[in-house]
Amino acid sequence: MSRMLKKLGMPLGVLLILVWCLLPVAWIVSLSFKDAAAVTNGTSPGFFPTDAFAGWDNYRAAWDNEQFRRAILNSLGISLISTFLSVVLATLAAYAIARLEFRGKKLVLSIALAIAMFPVVALVSPLFDLWRTLGLYDTWPGLILPYMSFTLPLAIWTLSAFFREIPWEMEQAAQVDGATSWQAFRKVIVPLAAPGVFTAAILTFFFAWNDFVFGITLTSTENARPIPAALSFFVGSDPFNRPASLLAAGAVIATVPIVLIVLVFQRKIVAGLTSGAVKG
């Protein structure tokens, strides 16, 4: 009995993970191919589109929506810029934490930790007020700044754990072998540090792409409104009566970048998540 359980346990566990993770994704994809009218009338229940198959209609409709396209553009721009800036600042800080002795190191890590746990919504009221005074309300920088603040802790945390593992003495070894310090840095340290920086960048991008609280509170038009906020405003505010299939198509489009990143970099992301948060 226990032998059989052992043999079957793994495949069963794997199956459980796959179903758990992919079922809702399959569902939203399926929904996005359902005919909009059939969904509104509730004539097409069940998991698969079957008789209410609408082809690419919903995708076309979502993509034809000017606001939706703007939101995708906003999200890409804002997320990429904040990722870049955040990773640059985090790299500097993490290098210092991993390599240098200085006063206040503990304080830096404590601040990072405190901010990682900060209740984002508590900032809504002061930032809303402040951004309107400063003219940052409904602009790209108005979102980039908070995204940076809230991704820096994760980036610093991940990167400093990563940098601590790098055999820095190799840099000197290369210099002894006749490399200039720039060459030593460029040819030895950069390739070793790149995977960590990269992981931090991906995690940062995920956060920025996912953010909703800042997205709905600090924007009011398509000027800066990112995709999660745009999806929630897609049609009116009645949460019980939405054009489900159209929304599903929009949601699938918004998920494509994430899936692409995950497909290409899954190994790096897992390594980054497991080394950054808990280091042994």
Partner: protein, 301 residues
């Protein structure tokens, strides 16, 4: 650093460089958090509505008194704590099973990694939509698949089922994060120790409870701390799935509503301060209760 007593020029320079390198990150982190929360503290003593900004007046602690004596706040806090406790408990179990599978499995590792990262990376709003539509009786499939609910059962009609639906979305989305943190902890448990226990005749169950779990305690505690504080801030799923209706509103949602829908910046700021303090309290309780040692978990202990 045996010569730490002697402050050499080199050590001084290193100290300066280190502080310069961390300074930009610290400034950016504090500009958007510390400064606004102090401003919230200031605004919370005023009666300040964006609908009538000229009428701003100092009212002392009256916003706090109003909030703290209102049933609504306490109901929302109770429901928030419920979201936190239930989701984290369930995620801990499922996340641990996932971590065990990922740790032991020898085939399809790439596929598993990829699929577990999809809920992690997906937008919470999208997860909320997917689950909301899945639970609706008009279009969803859940009612058909679950044997114990009627075909026309309305999940969003009253508090308990609506809270369950929100929790399902929350759990689905965040279990991968939990399982990855636990996987990191699992990797730290020495295989030799597990084998030794096996040789000594310990059953699978005993090995789990006596060897594996105690040895990954730090990782579990960190995962619980992170996820609990994250769950306490629950907002996106509620916004998307119920809009806070039928008593599903969390403390974060209440604060949001005061500021954005009702433009009550004074009251909203008071709630922000209370939210901030309650997160501190929850963090403090978890750290004290479970004796989380973050430095030890990072291998700095």
């Amino acid at each position: 650093m045996s010569t730490a007593v002697v402050q050499t020029d080199r050590a001084k320079a290193e100290n300066r460089l280190g502080q310069r390198l961390v300074a930009p990150a610290i400034i950016v982190m504090l500009v958007v958090t510390a400064f606004p929360i102090l401003r919230a503290l200031y605004l919370s003593f005023y009666n300040y509505s964006l609908a009538a900004p000229e009428d701003r007046e100092f009212v002392g602690l009256s916003n706090y008194l109003t909030a703290l004596t209102d049933q609504l706040l306490w109901r929302d806090i109770a429901i928030t704590v419920m979201y936190m406790v239930v989701t984290v408990a369930i995620e801990l179990v499922i996340g641990f099973v996932f971590a065990m599978v990922m740790h032991r499995v020898v085939f399809a590792r790439g596929v598993i990694r990829t699929s577990i990262l999809i809920p992690y990376g997906i937008i919470t709003v999208v997860s909320g939509f997917a689950w909301q539509f899945a639970f609706t009786y008009q279009n969803g499939f859940i009612n058909n698949w679950l044997p114990f609910v009627g075909e026309k059962f309305n999940w969003f009609g009253e508090t308990t089922p609506a809270v369950v639906a929100i929790m399902v979305s929350e759990i689905w989305k965040t279990t991968p994060f939990m399982s990855l943190l636990l996987l990191a902890g699992l990797a730290q448990v020495s295989e030799d120790m597990i084998e030794a226990a096996q040789v000594d005749g310990a059953s699978w169950w005993q090995r789990l409870w006596r060897v594996i779990l105690p040895n990954m305690r730090a990782a579990i505690m960190v995962a619980v701390l992170f996820r609990a504080l994250d769950a306490y801030r629950i907002f996106d799923n509620i916004f998307v799935m119920t809009g806070g209706a039928v008593g599903t509103e969390s403390i974060s949602f209440l604060t949001y509503r005061q500021v954005i829908e009702q433009f009550q910046l004074g009251m909203g700021s008071a709630l922000s301060v209370l939210l901030f303090l309650s997160v501190l309290l929850v963090a403090f309780l978890i750290v004290k209760l479970f004796k989380v040692d973050l430095a030890q978990a990072r291998g700095e202990g």
